[in-house]
């Protein structure tokens, strides 16, 4: 029961949705399943949030290395949760001024908005911007002409990098039919055009093949899940 039940639910859920795709009156079941998933994922936040609290409270009580930072996690977590759920500092919606809870929880000027604007946004955006540095160091370290594959990888990146800036355009702007009529046949070699060709030919071909392969991989994986061949996440006993 503990294992066959979930296996049956998996198979039934999946096959019903596959069949529903061909039956007009059931065609919106897929969307319904997606909405249900969102609800379940939102409910699961209780598990995740609880786990987060548990992990960090344990570190604090154990006085584990760096427990002070766990304290910061717990405080910022609980504070944000409280001001967001209780809508601290949120005015009712202008449409319904008599409904105290009708305001948007992320309304400008509310406590939750302050946290969003001055903590969440700068922190996430700066984390994201670290990528600029990492990309430079990766380019320096990994792009070495060790073999044909590596040469193609770095050569293409090189052309795109140049072709997408003003400098690249200037570099090959001498290939101009106005300079010499014969250049009319070679304008394709101008960097900005070369970039477009690489994107529309090789990039298209490569991505298409990858996408076709991925679709086949997803078909096989989904089937294995539905047939109960892949089932490690359903536990044992």
């Amino acid at each position: 029961m503990k294992q066959t039940g979930p296996l049956l639910i998996t198979a039934a859920g999946g096959f019903v949705l596959i069949v529903a795709y061909f039956i007009p009156f059931a065609q919106n079941w897929g969307e319904l399943a997606a909405i249900w998933f969102d609800i379940l994922a939102a409910v699961a936040f209780i598990l995740g949030g609880g786990n987060l609290l548990k992990t960090h409270l344990k570190r604090i009580s154990d006085r584990a290395r760096g427990w002070g930072y766990s304290g910061v996690v717990v405080v910022s977590f609980l504070a944000t949760l409280f001001v967001g759920l209780v809508k601290v500092g949120v005015n009712p919606s202008a449409q319904f001024p008599d409904f105290a809870w009708s305001g948007q929880y992320r309304q400008m000027g509310s406590a939750f908005w302050y946290l969003f604007q001055y903590a969440f946004t700068p922190l996430t955006a700066t984390m994201f911007s670290l990528l600029a540095f990492y990309i430079a160091s990766a380019a320096f370290r990994a792009f070495r002409a060790k073999n044909v594959e590596a040469v193609l990888l770095l050569g293409t990146a090189f052309i795109i990098l140049l072709g997408r800036t003003f400098a690249g355009v200037a570099l090959t702007s001498w290939i101009d039919p106005d300079v010499w009529a014969g250049f009319a046949y070679f304008t394709g070699l101008r960097l900005e055009n070369l970039t477009v060709y690489i994107m529309s030919v090789f990039n298209t071909a490569g991505n298409r093949a990858i996408m076709i392969g991925i679709a086949l991989g997803i078909v096989a994986t989904s089937l294995k899940v539905l047939l109960g061949i892949d089932r490690s996440y359903l536990g044992k006993d």
Binding site: A34, Q95, F133, A139, F140, T165, V169, M211
Partner: protein, 318 residues
């Protein structure tokens, strides 16, 4: 340039001072050895200066690099520019603050273009934070510069709906099924510009500004593929753009890739509607192309240097 260096001597001093340890290292250990064992933090520092100095330079002097719009940027521009005043246009903003740097200028330019053309704008978002991005863009463009446009008559924020691509599937045939109110909670029947609008197929153009899933790809898959008469143009991040090229031009007639695409489109819009002294806030991407250029050149130099060192070493081994 010289004037800039003289006036901002302190910045020059900081940059030079910060590089002194590296120079000392090169002097003591030799250039090749330094490069071979280069601490990646030196690369980080070089990149920081490569981005920061151009920003500062452009910020002080106000100069930008010229942009030549590419075919795709022009195609995007034309898709919107051929519309007539009052035509409905859907603006789907599926991104969040971390992608603001790339997509913010595009969103601004799209709204500026649509507002200048007096199109009826319907905003919606599949990302929770997209609704915020819509409000920000409206506050940046429409509220200060198009005071004659009225909310509910000329533009509307339908807000965020959860359900990812499921939302697209539904609104393509029946908008009212999911959207009974706008983001402010006003019922649909009380909004003048919603009269007669029952689904997304009535939009003349769909503009998708997206940073990932769900985004432009899902709009192609679930809106344009089943209803090929829909016209979709997109602004995408540099990461997303290569994945969208396979859809160009049949399913996706216009595509702006990364800050470069934004700068090209910005230029087209500002040239057409901004006048001689365009508000600098509409030139954000053009300004950002400066640091872009220098950083690109730095990365190219790094690749070249790394390969020279690599080839010298390989030559010695043989």
């Amino acid at each position: 340039m010289t004037e800039f260096i003289v006036n901002q001597w302190w910045l020059v001093a900081i940059v030079i001072a910060s590089l002194i340890p590296l120079v000392m290292r090169i002097v003591s250990a030799g250039l090749l050895e330094t490069l071979r064992t280069l601490d990646r933090r030196w690369i980080f520092l070089l990149l920081l200066w490569a981005v920061l100095i151009p920003i500062y330079f452009i910020g002080v002097t106000g100069r930008t690099f010229p942009e030549v719009p590419s075919v795709l940027a022009r195609a995007t521009f034309d898709e919107i520019d051929r519309l007539n005043p009052g035509d409905p246009i859907l603006l789907a903003f599926d991104y969040d603050p971390p992608s603001e740097g790339e997509l913010g200028p595009m969103a601004t330019a799209f709204v500026y273009h649509a507002a200048s053309k007096k199109l009826r704008m319907y905003f919606m978002a599949l990302w929770p934070l997209g609704a915020q991005m819509i409000d920000n863009t409206i506050a940046k463009v429409i509220t200060p510069d198009f005071r004659d446009l009225v909310y509910g008559r000329d533009y509307i924020n339908l807000g965020f709906k959860s359900g990812q691509e499921g939302v697209i599937k539904v609104v393509v045939t029946n908008l009212r099924e999911l959207y009974t109110t706008d983001s402010r909670g006003t019922a649909m029947q009380d909004i003048p510009m919603m009269e007669g609008i029952t689904n997304i197929q009535q939009m003349k153009v769909i503009v998708s500004v997206s940073a990932g899933y769900p985004g432009t790809k899902e709009w192609v898959q679930y809106a344009v593929t089943p209803f090929p008469s829909l016209r979709l143009v997109a602004g995408a991040t540099g990461v997303q753009a290569p994945l969208l090229y396979p859809y160009v031009p049949r399913q996706l007639p216009g595509l702006l890739g990364a800050i470069k695409g934004a700068a090209e489109y910005e230029k087209l819009v500002v040239d057409a509607y901004g006048g001689a002294n365009a508000d600098p806030k509409y030139l954000e991407a053009l300004r950002r192309m400066g640091p872009q250029l220098v950083a690109h050149l730095l990365i190219i130099t790094l690749i070249v240097v790394a390969n020279v060192v690599f080839l010298i070493d390989r030559g010695r081994k043989r």
